[in-house]
């Protein structure tokens, strides 16, 4: 088989695997989130469908599938149908350049579960986050509904305000690692755990975490789609599978952001203790544990904090986060020039 066909088959297999895992992880996350939130709120959560409520995501999927597909009378057909598609496309595009585990050898080939190892990986992710706004804007506009439009405008303004802080928080790491490739940034953090960027660039980590929570519209930044505000924000008029797609896009975004946090700040698949294996199967274990911890913190935040009001949210993004992260960029640049090993 020619090398081109071989590469094509491997790439197709990787695509299939990543998409399959993401879709299943989405449904598992919905169940885990509801159960964990419930325990935090001193109640039980879904525990009826199947043993311990494990079949709840399946039940939700079946329910969504059979709901009636509504479309408002004067809504713009193409845009109404296209909005969830654009949202999920943007969510999955950013999944393509992130490695989902360490390199491992299989049948004598060195493989890594990463669909595209771009030289400008981090910049590409920044580009795709800026394309994520279109899903929201389209959804809000096409529904021909005041609440939807207001929710969409608020949501997209929040997204691209915090996107700036998100991108700037990465600049310090890129300077320290000297490359835009995600694998290079992960390998820069090998060794003892104090090499992790969370300890070496603490301000960037905090800013990234806050900006990422705002980017995926999680509490405390979920005003645009909060259940008690603006009906349901930009997805007011969506029902059935289109709504399911929008939820899927949101969860996939959240998982992406958690995986990115692990790679950029928590050392990816490195265990933080030199000598412990970090490639192959143990590497997967450390990676999964770290991603799980970050997802748990997202759920914990949801169960604990109230939400920001819209003007407080925008104030915080522009007047606090962006100056802080800009100062961090200058500080990091100065420290690197002075020879501090960051």
């Amino acid at each position: 088989m020619s090398p081109f066909v071989e590469e094509l088959l491997i790439a197709t297999a990787k695509c299939g695997l990543v998409i399959f895992v993401m879709l299943n992880l989405f449904s598992v996350m919905t169940y885990i989130e509801r159960r964990t939130l419930a325990f935090m709120q001193f109640r039980l959560g879904p525990n009826r469908t199947g043993p311990l409520g494990i079949l709840q995501p399946a039940a939700d999927g079946i329910k969504l599938f059979f709901k009636e597909e509504l479309m408002p009378a004067d809504a713009d057909r193409w845009l109404f149908f296209g909005a969830p598609a654009v949202a999920i496309a943007a969510a999955f595009l950013s999944v393509a350049v992130v490695p989902y585990g360490p390199p491992f050898t299989l049948f004598g080939r060195e493989l890594q579960i990463q669909i595209a190892d771009l030289n400008v990986g981090i910049l590409y992710i920044f580009a795709i986050t800026s394309l994520g706004v279109y899903g929201l804007v389209l959804a809000g506009w096409s529904a021909n509904n005041k609440y939807s439009l207001l929710g969409a405008l608020r949501s997209s303004a929040q997204m691209f305000s915090y996107e700036l802080a998100l991108g700037l928080s990465w600049v310090g790491l890129i300077m320290a690692a000297g490359s835009f490739r995600i694998n290079d940034i992960v390998d820069h953090q090998a060794g003892w755990f104090h090499h992790w960027n969370a300890f070496r660039h603490p301000i960037a980590f905090i800013v990234y975490f806050i900006a990422a929570t705002a980017e995926v519209s999680r509490i405390p930044f979920d005003l645009p789609e909060g259940e008690s505000e603006l009906v349901a924000g930009f997805h007011t008029e969506y029902s059935s599978m289109k709504f399911g797609l929008i939820q899927m896009a949101e969860y996939v975004n959240m998982i992406s952001v958690a995986v990115l946090a692990t790679h950029l700040f928590l050392g990816g698949w490195h265990p933080g203790i030199p000598g412990v294996a970090s490639v192959g199967a143990p590497g997967f274990l450390w990676f999964t544990l770290k991603v799980g911890a970050i997802l748990f913190v997202f759920i914990w935040l949801r169960g604990t904090l109230p939400r920001f009001r819209y003007d407080q949210l925008m104030d915080f993004g522009w007047k606090v986060l962006i100056p802080v992260v800009t100062v961090n960029v200058f500080l990091t640049a100065g420290l690197i020039l002075a020879g501090v090993p960051l």
Binding site: N119, A127, V133, Y134, V137, W141, F160
Partner: protein
């Protein structure tokens, strides 16, 4: 035929089709989305031409910021599809002939020199771009652009205020 050549022709066709859709659509919001498709196709073509930094920058700046601005303005001004008579037929024919003549002229001048596929050692990585951008050759341009952006920021806020 190598895969990147096939991709280039496919993306070129997509870009041309999307831009024709943009000028033909009555609804300005559909035109805006057609333009976004053109810009994304162009970004992919920049990637094929060996410029990853410009490709990503095209998505971040053009498709991700400028077109969002266009869409916001279109939505806030509640722009409806164009009503009223469109241009007269003779004007369309004259404009079409003019632009075709222009295209023929430009193509004949540009394809007169055989350029092949460009230089083999072409390093347009971000590092090389940064070295060139921050070199003394482009310092004045860089600073002037920064002041231009500041002026545009202030100007846009002042002009759009009630």
């Amino acid at each position: 035929m190598p895969i990147d050549l096939v991709l280039f022709y496919v993306l070129g066709a997509v870009a041309i089709a999307a831009s024709v859709a943009m000028i033909a659509q009555r609804n300005p919001i559909y035109s805006a989305f057609a333009l976004i498709a053109t810009l994304c196709a162009l970004a992919a073509i920049y990637g094929l031409l060996g410029s990853p930094f410009i490709a990503v920058l095209q998505i971040v700046v053009y498709a991700g910021a400028i077109m969002v601005l266009f869409l916001f303005v279109l939505m806030l001004l509640s722009v409806r599809p164009e009503e009223g008579p469109s241009r007269s037929k003779s004007l369309k024919v004259a404009a079409g002939a003019l632009v075709l003549v222009f295209a023929a002229q430009v193509t004949s001048v540009v394809t007169a020199a055989a350029r092949g596929t460009g230089s083999a050692t072409f390093d347009a990585s971000t590092r090389q771009m940064a070295l060139k951008l921050f070199s003394p050759e482009f310092t004045y341009t860089f600073l002037a652009t920064a002041i231009l952006i500041l002026a545009a920021l202030v100007g846009a806020v002042v002009l759009a205020k009630k």
